[in-house]
Subunit: 222 residues, 2 copies
Amino acid sequence: MGTTGDVGTDMRSQLVAAAVSLLAEEGPGVIQARRLAREVGASTMAVYHYFGGMPQLLTAVREEGFRRLDARLSEVAITDDPVTDIGRLGLAYRQVAWENPHLYDLMFGLSTPGGYRPEAHAPPAESDGSSSQRAYTHLVDAAARAIRAGRVREQDPDSVAAQFWSVLHGYVTLELSGHLDQLDGLNQVLIPMGINHLVGLGDAPEDATNSLERINTANAES
Amino acid sequence: MGTTGDVGTDMRSQLVAAAVSLLAEEGPGVIQARRLAREVGASTMAVYHYFGGMPQLLTAVREEGFRRLDARLSEVAITDDPVTDIGRLGLAYRQVAWENPHLYDLMFGLSTPGGYRPEAHAPPAESDGSSSQRAYTHLVDAAARAIRAGRVREQDPDSVAAQFWSVLHGYVTLELSGHLDQLDGLNQVLIPMGINHLVGLGDAPEDATNSLERINTANAES
DNA sequence: CGCATTATATAACCTTGTTATGATACGTTG
DNA sequence: CAACGTATCATAACAAGGTTATATAATGCG
């Protein structure tokens, strides 16, 4: 543990947790060394002792965000309808983003609250590759199941998953930034877009519609 | 003039232009009142005299970004194949984002380089609504043409355009943030995703494929 | 126990947004 | 034309926040 996904009660985890909470409650403007330290009852030195500086702390916050996303996607049950599963993954993904929009923004944005970068231009395949990759894996697995079930044409599941992710991420960020305010986002954009995409991937229109209509039912087996 | 879209040579335009250039060349970390002022040979007071502060200046930079996006999308010709037009709009959109990723991030991100917000939580329908809406209109028009041509099922063009935008924006941001580095983004994600989406919208698979294969040809009429 | 390492606190330093104040340029007006 | 007011710009000071230096406690270990 420690390097794994548990929360922990040490100073590192406390600071990250405080940053996550403050992001949700007061926005990125209050993510400051002094504020975080005060929040956990320590001095600013804690930030430098445990992280090295604010950029590294923000990197840790970003990784925590991906861990939480992964945890939430892990809760989505695997049923005998992989297309319904995909829809539920999408809903869960959207929900995570809405619960802490600024955390989501930090996870995927190029800039950071302080103006510095989260760790240099290093490809995400290194630092947060493992965490963001884990969340991504849920989509790959679901895509693979849909292909095995004959709902999606035979092809590389990675490519399909990347398409799902693009659609989801694009919708979520546009919705969060208010660019879709004139529409009923869920029913006029996300759901039809999901159906359209699935039909293009090979699913029958009625099947895709029926499967996605089930996404709001209890998240139980079969 | 002034309130319209021309570049201009006054101090306001110079500061915005400097910010846009610096974003592209050195990233969001150097978007500072002192640096911008030095860049245009003025004192920091220029920022406050012409904008009121850094948040308002960043709002102006964001609007300039949308103006440039609109200008680039306006250059995409309207041909007799609306699906090809949509593909070319997508390519142009992606190109604009790649030419200045940090500007694109500023336009759509929730955070800003300095940690402050670009103008409060005001819905984008007010300040940059006009500029971002203008760029969005290109997609709505193309969607309407595709519907009129029978390539897309009869439906609300706004909904279709929002779907295109989500797909595009999601793909572009994931690509920019390096999350699609293991794939050939264009050929494994964007193009097939576009075809899948169009097929789901009602286009015939061969027609969608053929139309999107034309997007790289000269951007001329017919 | 003695010592090295870790952990924490205090204070100072530097950069940056901002404000206060003053000087200059320029158009307007009596 | 001269005086005035406004717009423009520069300088300097202030405040907030990241960072560093340094000192002090706590902890582990031989």
